[in-house]
Amino acid sequence: MFKVRNLRFKYPSSKEYTINGIDFEIKNGEIFGFLGPSAAGKSTVQKILIKLLKGFEGEIEYYGKPLLSYNDEFYQDIGVSFEMPISFSKLTAMENLDFFKKLYKQTVDVEPLLKRVGLWDDRDKKAGEYSKGMKIRLNFIRALLNKPKMLFLDEPTNGLDPGNARIMKDMILEFKKQGGTVFITSHIMSDIDELCDRVAFIADGKLREVDTPRNLKIKYGKRMVKVEYKEEGSLIVREFSMNEIKTSAFCELLRDKDIETLHSGETTLEEIFIKVTGVTLRG
């Protein structure tokens, strides 16, 4: 769907490139996670892909044609959910959605969507009176308004309670199931792990890794199993390599000892993030 080759971008006020020669591809129907520390260039890449930032170097193709060859009708295809609220505060949620609906050729019925995210009963409340979580949910519905082929989601579950975050993630997965493509940035690694088919890590304007979460975990994880068991009142911890788990020593241990915990050496996306970008996650 999107092919990005040797993308470089420098803000007019900056001497250095914010994005310094990155290549990646977003395939049709996949959920592509874009991860990186603050100011690494995630939002810049997203803004370039949604044509808010022009003047980049390199090539970006959308459905095989240069992105910039598309006129504003490109926006009929995409939906964008920003991290910050983007509603007219003195208009009700319904008035906001009605205004934006009129700007598109094709739109959806918002009633089931608003009901799904729990905003239907508050549809006639001014957006300015909404809580942060409600504003984020309204942003998400705004992104779905034009029945897009592709969604760009910036921190879609940030600030949501677990129940609403679950609903949002289910809706993203359903969007994908119906053939939609998603570009997502988030600091919540469990969400990325759960949602994304592939993830890219960006740091200092360069891509450090692009792969499936599974492959990354294998690459960065330890091929071992850690066993914790009790013996004569004390806790013993032993580690076995993947080859050793076929041996009788490992099988006997499982059979004869009072096993307390059993862990694989698979790493988490959070650990990979820290290793790859060299930055600790915050928030």
Binding site: K54, I86, R142
Partner: protein
């Protein structure tokens, strides 16, 4: 251009909901109240001042406030990721500015007719209001590009007024030579004042022809070279980059 209508309607709805129309209406009431104290020739000379203030100052303030709210609430981001083109977005601001000025003309004219029985030559007034509002909407947009807040927009506006009105004041006071003063006609507030003032006093035909031509060319130049090319830069800055 198919999205102009919803954009214009949406802009009107917001001017109403954000109480900007109310603020405008209060100012109009003030003008009408003031006009009540004038009679005859004085009233004839005073009314064009109301139209001039509304189509210049109020126009700049309204478009500035509208852009300021869109920046503050990030709704500009949401509009810019819709199929709305830059031209549609900017034209909608101009159209709303013009319609708003025309509403003012209707309101003031009706009020003065009922209170004082005054009627003006609207064939002369309406084209002048339209062209003056178009130019000043563009000036308002351009001033907003550099305004970080609503207060800084007001400062930009004061600088504009200071720079462009001061020479006229100097000419009136005789500080600027009369030969030089005739060239002040190229200043937007001066030529706007001449076009709208034609409502109450005789203005040479060449000045009217020059005024309409000059402001039309100025609108085009402002849009083509100062508003459109800088719009993307403005969007880049205001969409949180």
């Amino acid at each position: 251009m198919g999205r102009l209508l919803p954009l214009v309607k949406g802009e009107f709805d917001r001017l109403n909901k954000y109480n900007l129309f109310t603020a405008n209406f209060v100012v109009l009431l003030f003008w009408v109240g003031l006009a009540f104290f004038f009679e005859g020739e004085e009233l004839k000379m005073f009314v064009p001042v109301i139209f001039l203030m509304d189509s210049t100052m109020m126009t700049i303030m309204l478009v500035g406030a509208s852009l300021f709210y869109e920046k503050q609430e990030h709704t500009m981001n949401s509009i810019m990721i819709s199929p709305v083109t830059e031209d549609e977005y900017l034209f909608s601001k101009v159209i709303v500015g013009v319609l708003n000025s025309l509403i003012t003309v209707i309101f003031i004219s009706a009020a003065l007719y009922f209170v004082k029985g005054v009627i003006y030559n609207y064939l002369l007034l309406i084209p002048a209001i339209i062209i003056v509002t178009v130019v000043h909407t563009m000036i308002g947009i351009r001033l907003s590009y550099h305004a970080k807040s609503f207060s800084s927009l007001l400062v930009n506006f004061m600088v504009y007024i200071f720079l462009f009105l001061l020479p006229t004041v100097f000419a009136t006071l005789g500080i600027i030579d009369a030969n030089l003063a005739k060239y002040l006609i190229v200043l937007p507030p001066e030529i706007s004042s001449i076009l709208i003032g034609a409502l109450a006093r005789d203005v040479e035909l060449w000045k009217l022809l020059f005024g309409y031509t000059y402001l039309s060319v100025l609108s085009f130049v402002l849009y083509r070279f100062m508003i459109k090319p800088k719009f993307n830069e403005y969007i880049m800055r205001e969409t949180g980059v």
